[in-house]
Symmetry: C2
Subunit: 613 residues, 2 copies
C-alpha cells in the first residue's frame, strides 16, 4: 500500500510510496529527471538528494561518499534511503566533482551572458513625418538599448520577415542578436525564452546538456553511443573511412548530425522544452570528431605532419548542418589545439581554470587517446598519447564498455572479489576493471617487471600462491581466470590474457611517457605539480590507487589526484552560458603549446621505460 | 566580291568587304560586340568608330553628331560609312554622354578597386616543426599581403575545400576576399580573372553591363524587357499582385531573377566570358524593383506612410538568390533613398557627382515616376512625382514603347513631319514623339492654356489653320490626326486624343510641381540652378526644346540642360568597379532629404498650375 506522501522539491511534485521502498523507486515513479549512474546499487555515490523532512540516520555506506558537513546538512543517496514515513526531499542537489566545477565557476568567475542576446523593444510607428524604413526604426531602438549596436547587420531572410511581423506584433518584438547581427525577430516579449545545448562528442559517447540560458539551469542530460562506431572504433579507422570512400566524409558527418538531432529530441522530451526555443549549440570533441562534425576532412590530421584544417572556434548556422533547433540558431564549435589535442581539451582547461592557476596542474583525459595538459597561468603545454582502446575495454579478450554486466572494479584481498555494473552476472571487463586487475597482478607479484604473466612455479611473492589455480594456458601463453564460466552471464570464462596485459602496457607506457615529456618541455620537476585533475569517464571511474600502482600516473602524484568529472562537457556548458568564457576558450587554445611526442628526443626511450611495471 | 580588307582595332580582327558596303555590315560580319541602337539608320549617332586609315570625307549627317575636334580625329558613324578601299578602324571609341560620365569619373575620381580582392599567395608547407593548421598557414600569408587582414573570417563551405585544394595546387592559390572574409580559393594564380555585372532593373527595361574588374573595361551590354510586366505595367500594380496573391512576391522575385540569369547568359555569350569568373553583381532600381528583386515585400511602400523595409545597401550571396555566377559570388544592392526614390536615383547622383558639386544642379530621371534630385555638396533634396505612363507611351490611344515603328520625333514646320524608329512605316507614338506633338500644339496654338484641343473655328493663331483638316471628332471630343491610315503599318490612323493630352498634362504637371517643391525645400531660386541633368531613356530621347515648350522643364532652364544617358546604369558600374564609390552611394543615400510631395503645403495648387500650358 502506498501510504506515504513524498514531496520532491523544487518541482513540488508529490508521489505516494509504500513502506520500505527506496527514494529511488519514488523518484522513478515521479517521472522527474534524475540519474542513477551505477543503476542504483549504492556504488557510484551520485544519486545525491537532501532530505528536508524528517531527519534520517546516516547509513554506513553513505559515510564513504559524504563529508561530515554534508551529512549534517541531510545529504543522502536516494538509492539507499528507505521510506518509513512522509518525506520532503530536495532533488536539486549537486555534489560530485563535475557539478562542483561548474558551480564554482558559476559563483566565482562568470555571469550568465550567453553568445546571443534577446532584446524586447517597441518600435515607433511610421508616419508621413517619420517615413523611416522598417529596419531603421528597429535600429533606432536597439542603439538605445546598447550603444554597441552601432553597425547592425542583418541577413536577407530575417529582413524578409520584418515588415509583416512588426505590424502583426503591433510593433512589440523581441530581437535576437549575435554580436551586432540581427539573427531573428519574434512577436511580443520572449526575452526569457532562450535555451541552448552543450554537446560533448566523444569517439565512443556523445553527451548533450540542455541548459536554460536565461536562468543558467541545467534542464536535462542525455547521452548515446556515437553511431559513427559502425565505421570504425577509433579516430584512425574513421579517418580512413572518410578518406577512402566516396562520400565517406559526408556519411560520417550525417551520422553524427543525426545523432545530435536525436539527442535534441530526447532532451526536449525530457524537459518538455520546445526546439524553437533552442538558439545556441556549443560543441566540443577531439579534433577528428570536431572535423567530422563540421564536414572537414580529417585526412591530414592522420598523416605526418598531422595538421588540422582549422584551430580557432567556428560559428555557423545550425541550418547549414540541418540541426533541428530554432531556424535562426547557431552552432559554436570550440577551438582545437592541434591535430590530436582537440576542443575537448580546450574545454577541460576552461572548466578547470588551469590557465588562471598560479599552481602548476596536470589535467589528464584518458580515452583512446590520452590528452594531457600541464602548466599554469604562465605557460601551458599539451600532448596526446596514443593509448589505444584498452582503457575503453576494446580489443581486450574479455573487454567491454562500461555498461551493465561490466566488471568495473576488482580487489585482490583475502580472495579475489569484483563488482559488476548493474549488479548483474558479469559479461566482461571494462577499462577500470582491467586497470584494477593489472594493478593487482603487479602488487601480488603475478607479473614480472616486463609484464610477463608468470607461471606458478615462477612466483616469488608468497601471497601470489593462492592465485595459482587461476593461471591457465591460452594460445601458447599464460592467462588469468577472473570468472569461471559457471558464474558468467554467457557461460564463457572471463580471462585476462598476456596480450591484454601488453595492450594495457602500451597504453600506460604512452601516457606516462607523455606526462614525462610535458614535464620536460615545461622545464619543471615532478614535485612542482600541485594537482592532477582526472577528467572523463575513465578517469572518474578508475581507481587512482591502481593507476599509481601500475605507473599510469607517477606514484609521487598519487595524493594530488582530483576527479573533475566530464570537464570537457562542463567547459562546453560554460561556453554556452557565457560569451566571455567562449572567448576565453579561444585565448586558451592559442596559448597552449602543443608537444608532438613523435618528434621528441628520448620519447621512444621513455615510452619503453613507461611500459615496465 | 569581297575585295577590301577591313582591320578592326583593338581586337586586330580582319574581315573582307565588298565595294560600297558599310562598315556596319563589316562589323556585323566580324562578330565583334558592337551596338547599333537605332538599327543602323544614322539617327542615334551612337555607332561611333574611328577610321585610322584612310582619311575619309565627313558626311553631312555626321556633322550633327560630332564636334569639329571629333571630326578631325577621324570619328565617324559606322552605319553611314561606305567602304571603297582597305581600312583600319578603331572600334573602342566612346563618345556619348553615358560613356563620358563614366570615363570622366574613371579619369578624375576613382581607381579601379572592386568590392572583392583576389590575392595570389604561396603557402609554406606544414612540417613537424610547423604543425600549423591549413587555415593558419593561409592567414599568415594574407597578413603579409595587407595588414588589414587581421580578423579573417571564413565560411564553412569554403573551409571544407581548403585542405584538398591547397595540396592539389601545390600551395599556390588565389584567395578571394570580401573585406576581411575569405569567400573562396582557387588553384594557381587567377588574380587577373575577375568579372562583374552592373544591373539596372527598371520597371520596363532591365540592362546588364558586363565589366572586367581587373582592367575596368566594359565587355558587353545586354538588355531585355522586365518580364514582370505580365503582372502589371507599373510599380503599383506589381505591388498589388505581390501583396494580394499567395506566393505573389515569390513569383515576382523569381521572374526578375530568371531574367537576370538570362542576361548573365547573354553577356557571357557575347563576350566569351565564363560565369565562374563573375564574382560581383551590383543592382540598382527603383525601391519597388529593388524590394521585389530581394524578395522584400513592397506592400508598405505603396500605402501611407510609404515606408520601405530597408534603405541601406545590402550585400548577400548570389547563391541565396540562385543567380548563376561563381558560387562564391555576391550581390550588392545599392541603397534606396525612400519608398519612391530608389537605388537608381542614388546611382544617378553617384554617376553625376551632384553630391560633390559646388554648383546647384537638378537631375531628373523620367519614367512612370519622375525621380528628381536637387542640390549640391551642401544639401540634396529629392522627390518622386507620379507621372503615370504617358512618357513611356503607355495608356495613350496610339501610344507604344520606343521600339521599331514608333514615331519618336515630330516637327510642326512648313508641314507636319516625323521620324520613325527603324525607318519603318509608323505603328504608333512613343513618349518623345508625344512630347513633340503636344509642344507643337502649344506653339502653333492648337490647344488652349487648359489643354483643350480647339476646333478650327476657335483657332486664333493664323499658322494653325493649315492643320484644320487634321482635327477630327473622336469619342465626343476633338482628336488630331498624325498619320492617316493609308500610311501606317497596320492600316489604322495614328491619333492624339483629348484624353492623351490630359494624360500628358497630368504627367508634366506632376513633374513641374515636383521641381518647384524641391526648389522651395532647398530654399533657392530657379536661376540658382546651374545645370539640369536629364537621365534615363526618355530624358535622352526627348527634345529638350519640346520639354521646355510645354513647361515640363521650366523654360528658364532650357539652356542648362545636359543629357547624361543611363546615369543609373553608370552609377551601378561605378559601384562595381570601386569599393569606395559603393560606399559613397551609402553616404549619398543617407544624406539626401526626401520630400514627400503629398505632405507638402501648396503641392496640389502647384500641380494644378503645372498642368496648364
Amino acid at each position: 500500500m502506498d501510504n506515504y506522501e513524498i514531496t520532491f522539491k523544487p518541482a513540488n511534485c508529490k508521489v505516494y510510496a509504500s513502506e520500505g521502498s527506496t527514494l529511488k523507486d519514488a523518484i522513478v515513479k515521479s517521472g522527474l529527471d534524475f540519474d542513477f549512474p551505477c543503476g542504483g546499487i549504492g556504488k557510484c555515490g551520485k544519486c545525491v538528494i537532501k532530505v528536508l523532512e524528517p531527519k534520517l540516520k546516516v547509513l554506513k555506506k553513505e559515510v564513504e561518499h559524504f563529508s561530515e558537513n554534508e551529512l549534517s546538512e541531510g545529504l543522502h543517496l536516494a538509492c539507499l534511503t528507505k521510506i518509513h514515513s512522509n518525506m520532503t526531499v530536495e532533488l536539486n542537489v549537486k555534489k560530485n566533482a563535475d557539478y562542483n566545477i561548474l558551480q564554482s565557476s558559476l559563483e566565482n568567475d562568470f555571469t550568465i551572458s550567453p553568445l546571443f542576446q534577446k532584446l524586447f523593444i517597441q518600435l515607433d510607428p511610421p508616419s508621413l513625418k517619420h517615413q523611416t524604413s522598417d529596419l531603421n526604426r528597429l535600429k533606432e531602438k536597439l542603439i538605445l538599448k546598447n550603444s554597441k549596436y552601432k553597425n547592425i547587420k542583418i541577413g536577407i531572410s530575417t529582413l524578409r520577415q520584418i515588415p509583416d511581423m512588426i505590424r502583426r506584433a503591433d510593433n512589440k518584438i523581441t530581437v535576437i542578436m549575435d554580436e551586432n547581427e540581427i539573427l531573428g525577430i519574434e512577436s511580443g516579449d520572449t526575452h526569457d525564452k532562450m535555451l541552448g545545448i552543450a554537446f560533448d562528442i566523444g569517439t565512443t559517447t556523445v553527451v548533450g546538456y540542455l541548459m536554460d540560458l536565461y536562468t543558467g539551469r541545467e534542464l536535462a542530460v542525455s547521452s548515446l553511443l556515437n553511431p559513427q562506431v559502425k565505421f570504425g572504433a577509433d579516430v584512425i579507422s574513421r579517418t580512413a573511412y572518410a578518406s577512402q570512400n566516396e562520400n565517406g566524409l559526408k556519411l560520417l558527418q550525417t551520422t553524427i548530425l543525426n545523432a545530435l538531432n536525436k539527442l535534441i529530441n530526447e532532451l526536449c522530451k525530457k524537459s518538455n522544452a520546445k526546439k524553437d526555443d533552442i538558439y545556441i549549440l556549443t560543441v566540443v570533441g577531439n579534433t577528428c570528431m570536431h572535423h567530422l562534425f563540421l564536414g572537414l576532412t580529417p585526412k591530414y590530421i592522420a598523416t605526418v605532419p598531422f595538421v588540422p584544417v582549422i584551430n580557432e572556434s567556428i560559428r555557423l548556422d545550425a541550418s547549414e548542418l540541418k540541426l533541428n533547433i530554432n531556424p535562426n540558431g547557431r552552432v559554436f564549435a570550440l577551438p582545437t589545439i592541434a591535430g590530436f589535442v582537440g576542443a575537448d581539451t580546450a574545454a577541460v582547461i576552461l572548466a578547470t581554470d588551469i590557465d588562471k592557476s598560479k599552481d602548476i596542474k596536470l589535467a589528464v583525459d584518458i580515452g583512446t587517446n590520452g590528452e594531457m595538459v600541464l602548466g599554469s597561468s604562465k605557460k601551458l603545454v599539451s600532448c596526446s598519447a596514443a593509448a589505444g582502446p584498452a582503457f575503453e575495454g576494446a580489443q581486450i579478450s574479455s573487454g567491454m564498455r562500461g555498461a551493465n554486466g561490466a566488471i568495473d572494479h576488482v580487489y585482490f584481498r583475502r580472495e579475489l572479489t569484483y563488482t559488476v555494473i548493474g549488479n548483474e552476472k558479469p559479461r566482461g571487463i571494462c577499462g577500470s576493471g582491467l586497470l584494477d586487475i593489472i594493478a593487482g597482478f603487479v602488487k601480488v607479484g603475478l607479473v614480472n617487471k616486463r609484464g610477463k604473466l608468470l607461471s606458478p612455479d615462477k612466483f616469488t611473492n608468497p601471497s601470489a600462491k593462492k592465485y595459482s589455480d587461476r593461471i591457465i594456458s591460452y594460445n601458447n601463453a599464460n592467462a588469468f581466470l577472473i570468472v569461471p564460466e559457471s558464474e558468467t552471464f554467457h557461460g564463457n570464462p572471463i580471462l585476462v590474457t598476456q596480450k591484454d596485459i601488453t595492450s594495457l602496457q602500451l597504453a600506460k607506457g604512452a601516457i606516462s611517457a607523455g606526462i614525462k615529456m610535458l614535464i620536460k618541455n615545461l622545464g619543471i620537476n615532478l614535485d612542482d605539480i600541485k594537482e592532477v585533475l582526472l577528467a572523463g569517464a575513465f578517469g572518474n571511474y578508475m581507481d587512482p590507487h591502481s593507476a599509481c600502482e601500475i605507473g599510469l600516473i607517477p606514484k609521487e602524484l598519487g595524493s594530488k589526484i582530483k576527479l573533475v568529472g566530464n570537464a570537457a562537457g562542463s567547459g562546453a556548458k560554460l561556453a554556452l552560458l557565457s560569451e566571455s568564457e567562449f572567448k576565453r576558450a579561444n585565448r586558451i587554445a592559442s596559448k597552449v603549446t602543443y608537444v608532438e611526442l613523435g618528434a621528441q628526443e628520448h620519447f621512444n626511450l621513455e615510452f619503453a621505460r613507461g611500459m615496465q611495471f
